[in-house]
């Protein structure tokens, strides 16, 4: 299928510095034919985005780097299932979010989440004073959420997925998407707007 000019132009502006540089689509097609270097170029282009997904969910740099690497390896093994007419960035970032969720859930099977206990823990003034920068406060607040809440926040707020898309991506019912998202927001509001 031939890309429309508009799409191709926006693609180039977004993913390449020069007009003659290969598009993501070209690189994916070459990677599918076994050109590892082409895939390396895709990694270079998208690693920052993928790393940030992992870092927001895992809150630990080294772990986020490892999971980013795993994301690209996993995506490579599934490259044949990827629709080349869709943008690669959003797809690989969704793969990353899913992989991080699996990783967190494999670490410790989550016990039934106790919102009251958790809110009490995070709302103390010392917890707020310790993290000075607002960015760090947001990261710390995200890290305090249960894994599934974190991933739903990631997919909704940072990747812009709809409820239906999140439901399909995580393979959970729509009602769970909503309850996870709304409860996560409530907890984040409590943590971020705690009186200090």
């Amino acid at each position: 299928m031939v890309l429309t000019d508009t799409f191709r132009n926006s693609f180039n502006r977004r993913y390449t510095s020069a007009m003659d540089a290969p598009t993501d689509r070209d690189l994916i097609l070459r990677a599918r034919r076994g050109e590892v270097e082409a895939y390396g170029e895709l990694v270079t282009r998208h690693q920052a985005g993928v790393f940030n997904v992992c870092y927001r969910i895992l809150h630990e740099r080294g772990e986020a780097e490892d999971l980013s690497q795993e994301t690209f390896l996993r995506a490579h093994s599934r490259l044949n299932t990827f629709d080349v007419n869709r943008p690669f960035g959003p797809w690989i970032r969704r793969v990353a979010a899913n992989l991080c969720l699996n990783h967190l859930e494999s670490l410790k099977p989550e016990t039934e989440f106790d919102e009251e206990r958790d809110a009490a823990e995070g709302a103390g003034p010392e917890a707020v004073v310790e993290v000075r920068e607002r960015g760090e406060q947001i990261r710390a607040a995200l890290a305090s959420l249960p894994a599934r809440f974190r991933v739903v926040i990631e997919l909704r707020h940072y990747q812009g997925l709809s409820y239906d898309e999140i439901s399909a991506e995580l393979n959970i019912p729509l009602s769970d998407v909503k309850s996870h998202l709304f409860r996560a927001r409530k907890l984040l509001a409590e943590k971020l707007h705690a009186p200090d």
Partner: protein, 183 residues
């Protein structure tokens, strides 16, 4: 009636089915408007989080793992080296060769020991194996080492020690390799 938290959340996400009705309520209710704006500023705050830069380029590591077959993501496990295979084979042969003697010796200590039916095929295989070993024992070494009788060591104990060593070897290797398998 005020909008529920769920309705406000859905409104924020452009996912509320009866949006017009919610809007008409919001136009007259200061309380719900305030709740919605709190929710909006929370969303803006979450999304304001700056992206962090990556400390190292991941591309070389990814392409390396894609090109080296032993370390490939879905290839052979990395720990399955030639050494491991040879060691395992050697230990297995050693254990198999001494097993009949141990079974035989054990049955003299526990006369009532009955081999379960499942064991019969295994024992049959062992009989073949022992027959082969017997044939092998006809082979004469230039000078067969003689153990002094005063030590009181029978062949059985020597073989037992050998089997123990082989087992320890196998288990020890397994423990050493465990950390590598996890990676």
């Amino acid at each position: 009636m005020h909008l529920t938290d769920d309705q406000l959340n859905e409104y924020l996400d452009d996912a509320l089915p009866k949006r017009a009705r919610a809007e008409s309520h919001l136009s007259t209710c200061a309380e719900c408007t305030a709740r919605l704006s709190a929710l909006r500023s929370l969303a803006a705050e979450i999304e304001s989080l700056p992206e962090e830069s990556l400390a190292r380029n991941l591309a070389p590591a990814v392409t390396r793992r894609l090109t080296s077959p032993a370390a490939a993501y879905s290839g052979f496990p990395r720990w399955l080296t030639l050494t491991t295979v040879l060691q395992t084979a050697a230990a297995t042969v050693l254990i198999a060769s001494v097993a009949p003697f141990i079974l035989e010796a054990a049955s003299t200590f526990i006369p009532a020991l009955q081999a379960p039916p499942v064991m019969e095929t295994i024992l049959e295989a062992q009989r073949v194996w022992t027959a082969w070993l017997d044939a092998l024992s006809q082979f004469q070494w230039p000078s067969p080492p003689e153990l002094p009788a005063s030590l009181g060591l029978s062949n059985f104990y020597i073989l037992l020690a050998l089997a123990g060593t082989a087992l320890a070897w196998l288990v020890g290797n397994g423990l050493l390799l465990r950390s590598q398998i996890k990676q």
